[in-house]
């Protein structure tokens, strides 16, 4: 074990111990923004952790006979069944080649598949920047020194819901019918 490694280990231990010793920073925690760094078509993006209800490695999706844009099939998570959509297709970048992660949306009962997961960052408000030409919300976040466009899930979920309602013609036979119920519950819980 080299000297540098010893020093790194000591720093980690001190930081770990200090986290127990420091007082709670209420204000800072309330204004903090948790983001999830992901990778779509090889490019970095970010999702607001507050918009998600879960993150899980991808598994084989159950096929579902519907022609909704970006619908990959049905996904199961913690005993629930969600319609699985291709996040890359939803943001207009075409179909994803090999999605390896699922993110469960909190606002609606649906799962989003994407290619790569880079990590999670807790950011201060100063790291949230307005960016007009970025995809999604028009916001970008600085994660680890690099800017990532922040994808705004509410808009995407709204468009998916509208399309599903148009496709089903008002009956509740589609996958969106249960999702609507779950969404109501989810919204109530929020």
């Amino acid at each position: 074990m080299t000297e540098a490694t010893r020093e790194l280990l000591a720093e980690w231990r001190e930081t770990f111990d200090r986290s127990f010793g420091e007082p709670r920073r209420q204000a800072a925690d309330e204004t903090a923004l948790d983001v999830l760094g992901i990778r779509i078509a090889g490019e970095p993006f970010a999702l607001n952790l507050a918009d998600l209800a879960g993150l899980t490695p991808a598994m084989p999706a159950a096929p579902y006979p519907a022609a909704a844009p970006g619908l990959l099939g049905l996904a199961g998570h913690q005993g629930q069944v969600f319609p699985l959509y291709d996040l890359q297709a939803l943001i207009g970048r075409g179909a994803a080649a090999d999605p390896r992660w699922w993110a469960i949306a909190r606002a609606a009962p649906l799962a989003l598949a994407f290619e790569g997961f880079d990590g999670q960052w807790r950011l201060s408000p100063a790291d949230r920047l307005q960016q007009n030409d970025a995809a999604g919300t028009g916001w970008a976040v600085r994660c680890g020194g690099a800017l990532r466009p922040l994808i705004e899930l509410d808009g995407l979920i709204a468009s998916v819901s509208a399309h599903a309602r148009n496709a089903s013609g008002g009956n509740d036979d589609g996958p969106w019918s249960s999702a609507t119920t779950t969404t109501s519950a989810g919204t109530a819980g929020r």
């Binding site: 999830l36 952790l49 209800a53 879960g54 899980t56 990590g119 999670q120 819980g189």
Partner: protein, 486 residues
């Protein structure tokens, strides 16, 4: 093309034939003229006999008349002469004209007349002697004698005319023959002169042409011969000089050969010393071979250790994969815990802090895992490089061992070759001595060759002089043939 000799032969042959023809014609003409001359003489002889017979008959008549008139016996002498000679003359005349039948007939006719006349003369003489003058005159007055004499004169005149005609004919023959001979001589001479002129012109042209060309060729050949002789003389001089130089060089070579013999003796001594050293170096080579074998074993040991290290690094990598997987799952759990804490609102905020700390630990663990993986990869790369380098070193050691074996074998061969070298050096020494002897003999032979070259040079000088004389003779001959200087 006609050669000069052929032209000469043909010219002489034609001249000879012409001369022979002229000679034959002249001989034949002369012979004919001689025959004609003989015949003319014969005719003249016949004419002489005719005239003689006529003269004797005139003498006999004149004598008979004188006796008849005088009665004296003295007048009868010519008569008696005629009686005695006329038959002989007639016989000779007949022999002369026996080739002419007409003359023969006339001669017989004249002989009969002469016999009659002679008989008449005899009868009158006997009448005069017996009866006297009167009876005789009476008989004479009858004119029988005159008539018979006139007839005889006529026959003899015919004979003379015949003979004269023969003479004229012979003269014409002579003239014809002489004319033929003259013609032959004149035309033969002209033809001979023309032939000689043509032959002279042809031979002159041949002399100035063919012979002149040949002489010029001889002249050129003489010049070339002279040049060749001069070149040969120069070559002989150079050869003699070179032989002298070679002789000097060979003397030096002789001295060098003796030095080589001495050097070969020294080489024999050094080779023997080298053989002893080679035998001593054999033990050192054996010790070095054992050292190389020990090195080879150590290298094999290092390779085994390195391969073991590589396997253990691989195992560490597997363990690291486990740790990385655990860190990733911990991270996902921490993220989901944060999400759950966020959903829990204020109640979950403290839990969110703990979850964030867990996530940080997981991040650090992932980062450390990646760093360790890099180091492990470095170690495995270094191990692979070391193994390959060691294997290369092992191969190099093997190659060195083989080369060392080769060196040892070469040393053994060198030891054997040193013995061979010693023998060869002894043979060189012996051969060099033999060579020195041969070089001395060669030196003598070269001296003889140099002498021969000098003699060749002298001979070439004589040849050159002869060629010069030959060229001079050719020029003289050409001058003689062409009558002008070249």
């Amino acid at each position: 093309m006609w050669t000069f000799g052929r032209k000469l032969s043909v010219g002489f042959a034609l001249s000879f034939a012409l001369l022979l023809l002229i000679g034959i014609l002249a001989y034949r003409g002369t012979d004919a003229m001689t025959q004609t001359s003989y015949q003319v003489t014969h005719t003249h002889s016949a004419l002489s006999h005719i005239n003689k017979v006529l003269s004797l008959m005139k003498d006999a008549e004149t004598a008979q008349r004188g006796y008849l008139l005088t009665g004296e016996e003295a007048y009868l002498e010519p008569y008696r002469n005629a009686v005695a000679n006329v038959p002989r003359e007639l016989a000779e005349l007949k022999s002369q004209i026996r080739d002419n039948p007409a003359q023969q007939s006339r001669a017989n006719q004249a002989t009969a007349m002469i016999d009659g006349l002679m008989q008449l003369h005899k009868e009158r003489i006997e009448t005069r002697r017996a009866s006297g003058l009167e009876a005789t005159l009476k008989s004479v007055s009858l004119g029988e004698g005159k008539r018979r004499m006139d007839e005889l004169r006529a026959v003899i005149g015919q004979m003379e005319d015949e003979e004269n005609e023969l003479l004229r004919e012979r003269a014409r023959e002579v003239e014809s023959t002489a004319s033929t001979v003259r013609t032959a001589i004149v035309w033969g001479t002209v033809a001979g002169a023309l032939l000689v002129l043509v032959a002279a012109l042809s031979l002159s042209r041949a002399l100035s042409g063919q012979v002149g060309t040949a002489v010029k060729h001889v002249q050129r050949s003489s010049a070339e011969l002279q040049a060749a002789a001069n070149q040969q003389a120069a070559g002989a001089r150079e050869t003699a000089t070179s032989m002298t130089e070679i002789s000097t060089t060979i003397s030096e070579l002789l001295a060098t050969s003796r030095q080589i013999a001495d050097s070969a003796q020294r080489v024999v001594g050094i080779a023997e010393q080298t053989a002893g050293l080679a035998r001593g170096g054999d033990g050192t080579l054996q010790a070095a071979r054992e050292t190389i074998a020990a090195m080879r074993r150590q290298i094999d040991l290092v390779v085994d250790h390195m391969l073991d290290l590589g396997r253990k690094s691989q195992q560490i990598g597997v363990v690291l994969d486990l740790v990385g997987e655990l860190a990733e799952q911990t991270n996902i759990l921490a993220i989901n815990a944060t999400i759950e804490a966020t959903v829990a609102g204020d109640a979950g905020r403290r839990f969110s802090v703990v979850a964030d700390e867990i996530r940080k630990l997981a991040d650090r663990m992932t980062a450390s895992t990646k760093e360790i993986r890099l180091q492990i990869d470095d170690v495995r790369g270094a191990v692979n490089t070391t193994v390959m380098a060691t294997e290369t070193g092992s191969k190099a050691v093997d190659a060195g061992a083989r080369q060392f074996d080769d060196v040892a074998a070469t040393f053994a061969k060198i030891a054997g070759q040193v013995v061979t070298t010693t023998d060869a050096a002894r043979e060189i020494e012996l051969s060099t001595k033999q060579q020195a002897t041969a070089v001395e003999q060669l030196n003598v032979a070269l001296s003889n060759t140099a002498q021969a070259s000098r003699e060749t040079e002298a001979s070439s000088g004589q040849t050159s002089q002869t060629a010069t004389e030959l060229a001079e003779m050719s020029r003289d001959l050409l001058r003689l043939v062409q009558a002008q200087p070249t």
